[in-house]
């Protein structure tokens, strides 16, 4: 069914790379997403904004296939394929990358080792030959520059003892190595000081391209002044209550979320907010 098998061809602009339709999902027995519709095309960067508890991270987890989230209704197509039918690892190999809000520590497993296993799993899936240690090292060195990564971090255990900033930087570095089609950045800016934020944002920007789409989830507009989105969506109470261009993020900065949250609940928004 899918014409695009992930060989690096861009989806045609007529066909969205990611199409979410009527998505409802539960976590912990509670309905969190109450009907999401969203389309993202190759080359686009979409921001998902919203207050705490609005369902932003749940959406990221649905896309990545986290089993703690149960999809109750709706459909998600990724390059025309039924994403929800795939296991998390197949989604990853198809080109979906999630930069975790809380990157996980894996003691005793070197960052390099995980990344090589991951890169080769993706390559195998794409029908490309696996990289040997030397080839992989060359790739890593090239991509490391993007994130101004300290090489010592590569040989340390995955995220173990990393500072908050190092963890987030490591996520984007992994993204640079794995070369995904769709990157979902879950609150990548949280816990970063302004310098670290700039480094991470520069890394993300350098990975923007006509064949890649990004979904940037954030609470704050400050990230969006570094990673300028094509579209901004506001999630409140499990629904997208407003979509717009970059200026929407700016007006949120000014007015806060309260006026839009009210819309999510279905109560009339304060008159002045419209």
């Amino acid at each position: 069914m899918a014409k695009n098998n992930g060989q690096g061809k861009a989806a045609t602009s007529a066909e969205p790379m990611l199409a979410i339709r009527g998505l409802k999902a539960k976590a912990g027995g509670k309905e969190i997403l109450k009907g999401i519709d969203l389309e993202v095309r190759a080359g686009e960067v979409h921001a998902i904004m919203g207050p705490n508890g609005s369902g932003k991270s749940t959406l990221a987890h649905v896309l990545a296939g986290r089993e703690t989230v149960e999809v109750t209704e709706g459909q998600v197509l990724f390059e025309g394929k039924d994403l929800l039918a795939m296991t998390p690892e197949v989604r990853a190999r198809e080109g979906i990358f999630l930069a975790f809000q809380y990157p996980v520590e894996i003691p005793g497993v070197s960052n390099m080792y995980l990344l090589k296993a991951a890169a080769n799993a993706v390559r195998k899936h794409r029908g490309q030959p696996e990289l040997d240690a030397m080839e992989f090292l060359a790739l890593v060195k090239e991509r490391m520059g993007i994130m101004q990564m300290d090489q010592a971090l590569l040989n340390r255990s995955v995220n173990e003892g990393f500072s908050g900033g190092e963890k987030k930087r490591n996520e984007i570095f992994q993204m640079a190595v794995l070369d995904p089609r769709l990157a979902v950045l879950d609150e990548t800016d949280s816990g970063l000081d302004i310098d670290a934020l700039r480094v991470v944002a520069n890394g993300v920007n350098s990975l923007r391209g006509p064949e890649r789409a990004m979904l940037v989830i954030t609470h704050y507009q400050r990230l969006l002044s570094h990673i300028v989105p094509d579209r901004v969506h506001v999630l409140a109470q499990g629904r997208i209550v407003r979509s717009g261009g970059r200026e929407l993020a700016l007006s949120l900065e000014e007015k806060g979320y309260a006026w839009l949250e009210a819309e999510g609940r279905g109560t009339p928004a304060p008159a002045g907010a419209r």
């Binding site: 990545a64 690892e89 799993a121 794995l178």
Partner: protein, 482 residues
């Protein structure tokens, strides 16, 4: 030698003849244990008289002992009269005719481990041609060792060819009266390995039973004795990552190591006996006594073990740190899956001054597995400035398994310094998900995480062994993640 022992020796030497004549042609001795059975075993092996005397002393002592019940393991009562204590090595004709006759499940595992075909045949007990790669390898290997004066042979051969060495060291670390299973072993052991590395010689290769001709049938009651003379070095590998079929349920081996001044012995084990089926039926009971004595100054004994097999593992490789400045090490990975039980750990007995010991234990429990670390650090009065560092980590997979830790400490010298760290963690859903989100399958993710957990121990294994051990853990954990 005391008078009573002398009489005993005479007596036994006398009876020896009868033992010898009654059963000489038979391939097996009758079921059960008696002095006659022991005499028969000794006679069949053509042992010198002191060996028989020693065996009988052990047997008589064993009769006064009770099977220990303190270990944190459960198993039905063993009927020691229902065991055949000696059977001649099976002739090749009894085994499967070709690999096609071998259990496909077993073959699948061999393939996953990447074991060469010839070796698969050997392990599965398939009759192999006389001209066989490893035989010639083993021959050149033996010549090399001989030129250095290193003795590496079966225990039986050692008892015949080097009785002085055997008599001097047998039972010097694990006396015949040591414990129920070691005493049983002393009475009935059939074979095992013997190593002697002369003064100042560094053994140039890893010694492994695999290279010992006629070692294929290791037997139920194995006994190994390794002696490193002053300044010598030897690294010994025991076992094999491939699962070996064995119809004997009870295994009670004894390993004794002796390191003289400035000598180093490194002993690595990968144990993968049949663990029983998924419901916990069958499987080997592995009740082993392993102990090393750092007899000389600055000597060092290092145990590394990867225990993934057996229904029950009961094993405490220990070090007696007698020489001043001697060093004992214990690195262990024990994995229990399905209904496996392991009660394992070490004892570090500090006697000499400035003795140091390190304990690093990693227990992994999956399925209904029960994993116990039991360790003793004992600092005796004269052990001035003794140091110990212990670390016991447990990893749990699922909610049906268990991890237990019993660290005992006895300190009789106030200058001693001891550190103990322990942790218990559950393999996290979030760790598995993180790896899967990067493209690894759930099984690969678990392997990666478990291998990371065990890394500090694997680092101590010889390179090739370490690679095999990693693969083995993965196979042993198959199906343990949903």
């Amino acid at each position: 030698m005391s008078g009573s022992t002398k009489t005993l020796q005479d007596l036994t030497a006398q009876d020896y003849k009868y033992g010898f004549t009654t059963d000489v042609e038979a391939d097996t001795v009758p079921k059960g244990l008696s002095e006659e059975v022991i005499r028969t075993i000794s006679a069949k092996k053509g042992e010198p008289a002191f060996m028989l005397e020693w065996r009988l002393k052990a047997y008589r002592h064993w009769l006064t002992m009770r099977e220990p019940t303190w270990a944190n393991v459960k198993y039905p009562k063993i009927d020691y009269q229902d065991i055949i204590y000696y059977s001649a090595p099976k002739s090749a004709a009894d085994g499967p005719k070709s690999l096609d006759d071998v259990d496909p499940e077993l073959r699948r595992t061999y393939e996953k481990l990447g074991i060469p075909l010839q070796e698969q045949k050997l392990l599965a007990g398939v009759a192999v041609d006389a001209v066989f790669d490893s035989v010639s390898v083993a021959t050149t290997f033996k010549e090399k060792l001989r030129s250095l004066g290193i003795i590496f042979c079966s225990f039986s051969e050692a008892a015949r060819e080097h009785p002085d060495l055997v008599q001097a060291y047998l039972g010097s670390v694990v006396p015949y009266s040591d414990n129920f299973f070691a005493t049983l072993n002393s009475a009935v052991f059939t074979d095992g390995s013997f190593v002697y590395v002369p003064k100042g010689v560094r053994c140039p290769m890893e010694l492994s039973t695999y290279f010992r001709i006629n070692a294929a049938d290791t037997g139920q009651f194995e006994r190994t004795l390794i002696i490193a003379d002053a300044g010598a070095y030897v690294s010994y590998l025991e076992g094999c990552t491939a699962p070996k079929r064995d119809k004997n349920q009870l295994h009670a081996a004894v390993v004794e190591l002796v390191a003289l001044e400035d000598a180093t012995i490194k002993y690595s084990t990968v144990q993968n006996w049949y663990p029983g089926d998924k419901e916990g039926k069958g499987g080997i009971y592995n009740f082993v006594t392993k102990r090393g004595k750092c007899q000389g100054r600055r000597s060092k004994i290092s145990w590394t073990q990867v225990e993934t097999g057996s229904a029950i593992t009961w094993k405490y490789p220990s070090c007696i740190l007698q020489g001043d400045d001697s060093v004992g090490e214990f690195y262990s990975v024990a994995l229990t899956n399905n209904y496996q039980q392991a009660d394992t750990g070490t004892k570090m007995i500090h006697i000499g001054r400035n003795t140091r010991s390190t304990i690093l234990s990693k227990g992994i429990s999956a399925g209904h597995g029960q994993n116990t670390y039991r360790g003793l650090v004992k600092i005796l009065k004269g052990a001035t400035n003794a140091r110990n560092y212990s670390q016991c980590d447990s990893l749990l997979m699922g909610d049906q398994c268990g991890a237990h830790t019993f660290p005992y400490v006895e300190v009789k010298n106030s200058t001693a310094r001891l550190e103990h760290e322990a942790s218990t963690s559950k393999i996290g859903e979030d760790q598995i998900f993180y790896c899967r989100q990067r493209g690894l399958s759930a099984e690969d993710a678990v392997n990666l995480i478990v291998n990371g957990f065990c890394k500090e121990v694997f680092r101590e294994l010889p390179m090739e062994f370490a690679v095999e051990a990693q693969k083995l853990l993965g196979i042993s954990l198959e199906g343990s993640v949903g």
